[in-house]
Symmetry: C2
Subunit: 359 residues, 2 copies
């Protein structure tokens, strides 16, 4: 029997629990009519008022609906989990580089899925990422799109774990984390850098400087593509041409690097800058100290930001599309896609302008 009259557990509660189980186990499916109170009364031997109370509780919980004359019915699962449709976006700084474009791609795709986007800047600092992560969890976001901060892998992992503990899907965008089996959307930086370097080589450049931050996966990848191209074209690799540091982007640092490169005696004919904002610094410094691009030195960038006033040969990154794709991925996870973590790699293409000289 369903009801144990000797149990200290209230009988209405026993019935309620039993009914809940039946519904959860699918014995009573959404849309089904459950037995009438009178029938239950007969089955269980309880008074109708007791049955009524049990059922009423489930109605209050939103699992059943009563319809006069018709009976009581199991409700469709309303997909109650998190009725506010919000996805978090963690980026370094909305004012810098490609961030606005990425944010826009994310948002447009979110809007298509009737979701809103909470935007948070990390400034490439762990504490900020951590702070914002807490608030996102507090606000029960349905998913998170995360541009890993330029800090240690371990610290980034801490952030990821926070979300994982709360069963919030995450997608990494642009930058990746080593040894992390997680959804990712990136551009093919190795291939892109290879093509860029090849482009320079084919125009006669052999002494190509490259700048990067070793904390940022994309820039490490670009160094790899750069080396690969040198290797393929039998150009000796020179450690002195690598201008690397381990920190986030800072204008001051690159002004110094640009000055060093312009004044060096390393026979550098071209600079593969880490990204367009660095290239812009190189243009500004060149202008200041009277060096002409591309006549005196060739500069290439990476990103294809919308500069208007300088004509930079660069690699167009599908930033907007990366935003879109990452949101698509999050949406499929939110909807319950449980397949293996995906790694989506988007194609970049070279945009030839006039910052490179044929030697």
């Amino acid at each position: 029997m369903i009801i144990d009259k000797n149990s200290p557990i209230p009988q209405y509660f026993q019935l309620q629990t039993w009914l809940l189980e039946q519904i959860e186990q699918g014995v009573f499916k959404p849309g089904d009519r459950i037995p009438t109170e009178a029938e239950f009364s007969k089955i269980t031997g309880l008074a109708r008022a007791t049955i009524h109370q049990a059922i009423q509780n489930l109605v209050n919980m939103g699992l059943l609906v009563r319809k006069r004359r018709l009976g009581t019915f199991v409700l469709e699962k309303v997909a109650a989990p998190s009725n506010h449709k919000i996805v978090g976006l963690l980026i370094p700084d909305i004012r810098r580089g490609y961030a606005p474009v990425l944010a826009r791609g994310v948002q447009d795709e979110a809007a298509k899925n009737n979701h809103s986007v909470i935007l948070c800047d990390t400034d490439d600092l762990f504490v900020r990422a951590d702070f914002h992560a807490d608030r996102m969890i507090e606000n029960s976001v349905s998913g998170v799109i995360f541009v890993p901060t330029a800090v240690s892998n371990m610290q980034n992992k801490k952030i990821l774990d926070k979300f994982k503990q709360n069963d919030i899907p995450i997608v990494l965008v642009d930058r990746t984390l080593t040894y992390e089996n997680i959804d990712q959307v990136t551009a093919d930086n190795i291939k892109g850098a290879y093509e860029m370097t090849e482009y320079l080589i084919k125009r006669g450049h052999r002494r190509i400087a490259i700048t990067l931050s070793t904390l940022i996966s994309t820039e490490r990848d670009r160094l790899e593509g750069y080396k690969k191209a040198l290797d393929v074209y039998d150009i000796p690799f020179d450690e002195k041409l690598i201008f690397a540091h381990s920190g986030p982007f800072s204008e001051g640092r690159y002004i110094k690097i640009a000055e060093r490169i312009y004044k060096s005696d390393l026979d550098i004919t071209a600079v593969f800058t880490g990204h367009d904002r660095i290239a812009l610094v190189f243009f500004a410094v060149a202008k200041k100290i009277g060096i002409s691009i591309p006549d005196d030195i060739s500069i290439i960038g990476y990103d294809d930001l919308d500069f208007t006033m300088i004509s930079l040969t660069t690699m167009h990154q599908p930033i907007y599309e990366m935003g879109q794709e990452s949101m698509k991925l999050i949406m499929s996870r939110i909807k319950g896609d449980l397949s293996e973590p995906q790694r989506i790699i988007l194609e970049s293409y070279l945009v030839e302008r006039v910052s490179v000289k044929q030697i």
Copy 2:
């Protein structure tokens, strides 16, 4: 008497409603013990079970707690309203102009108050603003910061009304709406434009073109400041020097306007562009057709965006601060400040670079 036995309204519901009123009006204060079920039964003449049902409903609603042997008590107001701390930001396009800086100012101030920001782009279209407004309301934001769209006042008012109907505080930023008694944060565009125009006049310019979109309040204000300066310095106002249109910013349109101005025979010596992005177009067009700034024509902008490669004399707008101030205002409204709508006007200052020639 409390209960009307002849009413079609269920008696338990009558009692429940009455109790709710008593609590809301403070007759039963938080912490108070309300009469026992038996007492209520005596007072109302209803069966104890009926009393029980009425009280149970209020317990379920979280207004009362029952304690065996002790009685039923009114709960402390848990101040449940909106436990997720989210503020909406409605801007035209996060990728354009000052939007990223504004967004950052808003966010930093929000973070200080442990709030998150939902970012939504309107593209200066009513339908988008409306769409995002609905979703913000759905997500029960605690407040909204709104850059009015470049559409009719009536349409913007519709958006405002939506939020007002849901008791969501709103602050208008940068652009204003005529005849709206509402919290606003703006820069003093009339004064700014006056100073800019005065600056040009003092450098010998008398034929000063000005560009604007009449849909945008800030640009209308700047026209006013411009006229005022001409008036003060006794320079005749020439309708032909006003290049106005009624639409949002479009690069194509301003390329045409720039070409028209550069090729005109109106003796224009300086152009007061509507904002820095327009100024940038003027620089690009000048470069393309071989005109030198400031030698052939002087250009001034408005905003002080971070351009690096062009040296534009412009009016620095406190965009970041406007973001901060608007969030401060929203926070005070969220916290229950019911004073009169405020209009916060921030100061701009002229940034002299080298895009203006002394005549």
